[in-house]
Amino acid sequence: MLAFRCPVRFLRVAQIAFCILITSVSMLASGVTAQKRPNGQTKVGRMGPISPLTAEPQQTVLNITVSPKVRVLVDAWVEYNPTTCTEISPGSWDVTTEPQYGKTTKGTVVGTLGNGDCPGDTFTFAAIYYTWTSTDPNVTTDYFAATWTSPDYQVTDEVNVALSTVSLSRQSLMQVEATGTPDGGSFSYSAQSVTGSSLAGIDIATGVTATTNPNTATLSDPPNPTPKQTPSPGGLAKITADYKTSSTATDSFKVPTFGMSCYYTTLESDWGTVPNKCLRVRIKGVVYSGTVTNPYGLTGTYCSSFIAEVVLQGSGVLTGGQDVQYISGVIEDVSVINGADGTPVIANETVARDRSIIPTGGVLVDIDQVGNNLLANDTGGDILGYRIDLYKGAGKAVCLDYDNIISVSACNPGNSKCPASAIQ
């Protein structure tokens, strides 16, 4: 039977690019050996799309670039009859040298010929795949060899694998850096919502191009959709860096934004002066005006409205600067006013937050345009989700015209209690 077949013609076909994640498969050489059917109407072909090669080397050397944990189609061949465009055999692969840092898998894939033969006809190709599995950060290359065999042909592939990586790290509150391998790729960045809609933005830094490696990018604060109204919540964004060579490597981390507001302890002088110029306030249907003497154990005469507010808020500051706190029916002098975590609130340092976002335990946070090393040791009834209230001290004047910005935030670097799941 074999003697009746025509001599085999070699039409070199280029490497495949079947999987979108295979990034670089450059054929340095290619070869098919063991022509068992010199007269038969048989031929071998790689799956397309392909650019045919003219040489007929005995060995194929493939250079591919891969991303971690992504299975890449390395090569796929079929033996077919070029006259009838029928499949003779998809053949099979044997791995002769196993990879060290990844694994190979075999299978079949249906496609068309890369050499342009039999347009419109599909064949079943024997395919070999590679997946980078190592987590060793010091390894970036791998090698394996495999042989494809059909009834009449044999092809040997030597495959050099290069790992495409990108490592994204936060250099400071508003700056990130991405490093990509191998050289020659380009960077791009994006921000997607994990929760919320007022999110951090990211752009390549000024003076840096997409191909600069390492690459610096800058985070940005979102606009406030309600600048004069109730503070808006921020959100949590997933910041992703893509490093594109002939494959695309990605890395990401989460960046929170917080909708800011301001709070304070009530100040005696805000409520007027005794005995005749006290302001009034209505609480629980009761109007507090005029003065009160020795209220709740506190010695002296005060505006009733101020005392009512101290009871309502739990603390206050006397005109002379003395802190007082209302506890269990008594207003008493205290040296410090404690927040919800039981530790002192400090002007321009303490922030109130939602404990489900930033837990207790002395977490320090940096907030763009607000400050660094802010201590999250308080809470607030209206401070839910990605909201933060900055404690500014005593009296309404400290929060006058406070701009309720929405700001990028981060745990203070080095803080072991930084809740990495929510704020990094």
Binding site: T226, I327, G381, D382, Y391
Partner: protein, 328 residues
């Protein structure tokens, strides 16, 4: 019937991005108020260029109130009432500067019609303090205010005759010294004086405005009770056999009260409470949440932002707070 109606809404929304007859949506786009009503395309009904927020339909669906920016040297903000064609009806300043208490309302967070001539404006004061200001549209003056240090606004009964709120958690006092109370019309009604409880739900009025329910946990024993206050002044407690549930939703169906948390649900009626095998199929909270999502898609497709309000006679939206992000 309700489900059928709801599905009809959904079908109409997905096909034409307009609202069906009987449903009205007011929303903010570029700082102006837009209306989609009875199958119409979005229609801009304000045009003065001043930023507006929080549109809310009157109970009968004939008027829209919204909050409008003013010079903060004059007042905190302004409540404007229009008809659905945009014709002005009332304009009332909220907290004129010369009448504002030092630690008063700082931001307007919500608006709600209490009756045909009263609107409640809720917002935050200083940390932990929430104030609800009730504006009388006839006089143009503040009728009364409600202050709570529990971080939640007052909840009005459907007929507008009562209000309820939680109180007794002053921010700068240690938690162990707190004595939270449930208050109706500014009077504490639960628990007994000196008892320390933690409330695990928002107060929920019955449709007839004669009962008020809340979930309370004893601070010491951690026993959880479903508490029902009746307008006669009596309070009933029903113990719930729970250990880990910390947040509850409550809703009424006629005189039956449902509590649900963590996949469990209880039904209370006529002084009996029992766990029901699963979440009630007619759960209006769940249904309203779905409806909000559907309407939110309509608003977003029309270019609106999250400030929006819905009015329809047949759907479940009234069980939710009037202001709710359509993204949630």
């Amino acid at each position: 019937m309700k489900n059928a109606l709801f599905l009809t809404f959904v079908a109409l929304i997905s096909s034409a991005q307009v609202v069906p007859s009987g449903v009205k949506i007011a929303f903010v786009k570029n700082g102006e108020i837009f209306v989609m009503a009875n199958g119409s395309q979005p229609r801009q009904v304000t045009h003065d260029g001043v930023l507006k927020y929080l549109p809310v339909w009157s109970k009968d669906g004939s008027k829209i109130a919204f909050n409008r920016d003013v010079d903060t040297k004059r007042a905190l903000s302004e409540v404007v009432v229009i008809d659905e064609s945009g014709h002005p009806i009332e304009e009332v300043l909220v907290r004129p500067t010369d009448e504002a208490p030092p630690d008063g309302l700082r931001y307007v967070k919500s608006m709600e019609w209490i009756s045909n001539d009263k609107i409640a404006i809720g917002g935050t004061q200083n940390i932990g303090l929430v104030e609800t200001v009730v504006m009388d549209l006839k006089s143009g003056k503040e009728a009364y205010n409600i202050l709570s240090n529990a971080g939640e606004e007052a909840v009005f009964s459907p007929d507008g005759s009562h209000f309820a709120y939680k109180d007794g958690t002053p921010h700068f006092s240690p938690e162990e010294s707190w004595r939270p109370t449930l208050n109706v019309d500014d009077k504490p009604v639960y628990p007994e004086a000196g008892t320390h409880v933690t409330f695990l739900s928002a107060p929920q009025w019955s449709n007839a405005s004669d009962r008020l329910a809340i979930i309370a946990e004893d601070y010491q024993t951690k026993m959880v009770n479903l508490v029902v206050w009746k307008s006669s002044g009596t309070v009933s407690k029903f113990r719930l056999d729970v250990t880990t549930e910390k947040e509850f939703d409550l809703f009424w169906s006629g005189t039956a009260l449902y509590a649900q948390s963590g996949g469990r649900a209880w039904r209370a009626q006529d002084d009996n409470v029992s766990e029901v095998p699963k979440e009630p199929a007619f759960n209006p909270i769940k249904q309203a949440g779905l409806e909000v999502k559907r309407w939110g898609a309509v608003i977003h497709s029309a270019g609106g932002r999250n400030d929006a309000d819905f009015w329809c006679e047949s759907c479940s939206l009234t069980v939710l707070p009037r202001k709710r992000s359509v993204d949630n």
